[in-house]
């Protein structure tokens, strides 16, 4: 039990953080995603066998990559927090965790929409689906844990420990569900050989990956600034 009260967090005087913020970067990122969406719908050819359903690939895979990106940030920042005890790392880990949950939700919603016409089922207990689902659960638990602890320092410690353990868990879930069964399409871009996607589709895909990653980064930044404002409001 913690009897000793942790020292109150000193208000961080970040220049410009107290002003109501108009987030230009976020607006730019949203425009980027909309632009990618227009290209996906209007300027990318239909795939010969799957037709329109395949276009979800340009959202599904970039969202999945952004999830991994955000989760990596959360895990790295948790390690940095344990190492340097820097509150900024904890705040960034929290922001990345929320963004990861958002993108994982996108992955888990777009997947079944594609799966129904192509596989004939909304959901299957395939290795990757299961792994993504449990990543979603762990991320949700991470955020619930953060919400359930009032003390700043304790919250940061607990969530950092959970994030680091979750990183260790991923290979185990992956291995066990992979041994169980897999049905998911194999990667066609991120593989050792050359990408087997036609040039036009590849361009759309890469644009979409860029737009989503940028959007994820902008959201993390926005969320980080919100966390900072909230702390300042609490300290005031």
């Amino acid at each position: 039990m913690t009897t000793v009260q942790a020292p109150a967090p000193t208000p961080v005087a970040a220049p410009g953080a107290t002003r109501p913020i108009f987030d230009w970067l976020l607006v730019l990122a949203v425009l980027g995603v909309i632009g990618a969406g227009i290209r996906i719908v209007l300027f990318t050819p239909f795939e010969a066998k799957q037709g329109a359903a395949q276009k979800i690939y340009y959202i599904h895979v970039p969202a999945a990559l952004s999830t991994y990106f955000a989760l990596t940030v959360a895990a790295c920042m948790s390690i940095v927090y344990r190492w340097l005890h820097d509150e900024r790392a904890d705040r960034l880990a929290e922001s990345a965790g929320e963004v990861a949950l958002l993108f994982a939700t996108v992955v888990l919603t777009t997947g079944p929409i594609w799966g129904k016409p192509i596989w004939g089922a909304w959901w299957t207990w395939d290795a990757r689906l299961t792994l993504t689902l449990f990543l979603w659960f762990v991320t949700a638990a991470y955020l619930v844990l953060r919400g359930a602890v009032d003390d700043h320092a304790m919250r940061a410690r607990y969530s950092a420990v959970l994030a680091i353990l979750a990183t260790l868990l991923i290979p185990f879930i992956h291995l066990s569900v992979y041994l169980f069964r897999t049905l998911h399409p194999m990667p066609i871009v991120l593989k050792p050989e050359r990408p087997s996607l036609p040039a036009e589709m590849l361009t759309t895909f890469l644009l979409s990956v860029g737009a989503f990653a940028f959007f994820a980064a902008a959201l993390m930044r926005a969320r980080y600034r919100l966390a900072l404002l909230r702390e300042q409001a609490e300290a005031a």
């Binding site: 353990l165 569900v177 169980f180």
Partner: protein, 232 residues
């Protein structure tokens, strides 16, 4: 307290703490009885969740056992640090001249013994309820159960220590623990289904390897992580 006390001293301190917890449990028997009854209840209720003519009891039994076991384990684990809340006993533990790792290890040892004791009743019970051949069931399920218990307790003990200090401990412990139980439940169920069906041991081996790897990785990681959950 020296953070680098030799291994025998660490184990001796851990054993002292484990003995304390087991003594409390032995004198009150509050958790053990309820967890055993819960397990038996789970085994019995799950039987009616499937049509016994469609799914043979032999195929059903391992899954039922591991699901019931992981929920029952959570009940026991919740108490592990829950008992230290009363009269702020945790503070006394923390100022005791032992390493913080020893507190975790002691709790984990006590929990493993607790869970193993539940299994001593649960494994024959599942054989009885689901009409399994006892000679094959006891060694197959018993061995896997021990491996599963170690992994379950390693993770659950750490999360129990964290969850008791939060606003919704009863809800948070399963939420944190269950995703970590996935590889355990999956691997134990797969391994035991194969062994119960009389398949060669080699078919279950890759699952057992996952269990052993999980135990080692998380026993070490959680022991190292526990002091990090406490104030410096």
């Amino acid at each position: 307290m020296g953070a680098d006390s030799p291994a025998p001293a660490l184990l001796a301190a851990s054993w002292l703490i484990a003995k304390k917890d087991l003594a409390i449990e032995l004198r009150t028997r509050s958790a053990f009885l309820s967890v055993v009854v819960f397990t038996l209840l789970g085994l019995a209720i799950f039987f009616f969740a499937w049509d016994p003519t469609a799914v043979s009891a032999m195929d059903l039994a391992p899954g039922v056992l591991w699901m019931t076991f992981s929920f029952a384990g959570l009940l026991g684990l919740h108490r592990s640090f829950g008992v230290e809340l009363e009269d702020r006993a945790m503070d006394a533990l923390l100022i005791a001249p032992v390493d913080r790792e020893a507190i975790y290890l002691g709790k984990a040892i006590a929990n493993t013994i607790f869970v193993a004791a539940v299994l001593v009743i649960a494994v024959p019970a599942v054989a009885l309820f689901y009409n399994l051949p006892l000679t094959r069931t006891i060694p197959a399920l018993g061995g896997i159960a021990l491996l599963a218990a170690i992994g379950l307790v390693a993770v659950g003990t750490l999360f129990s220590a964290m969850a008791v200090n939060t606003r919704m401990a009863e809800l948070l412990l399963p939420m944190l623990s269950l995703p970590f139980f996935v590889p355990i439940v999956l691997a134990s169920a797969q391994a035991s289904t194969r062994l119960l069906a009389g398949r060669p041991f080699a078919e279950a081996l890759s699952w057992i390897k996952i269990l052993i790897a999980f135990d080692i990785v998380f026993a070490v990681a959680c022991t190292v992580a526990f002091p990090h959950t406490l104030e410096e």
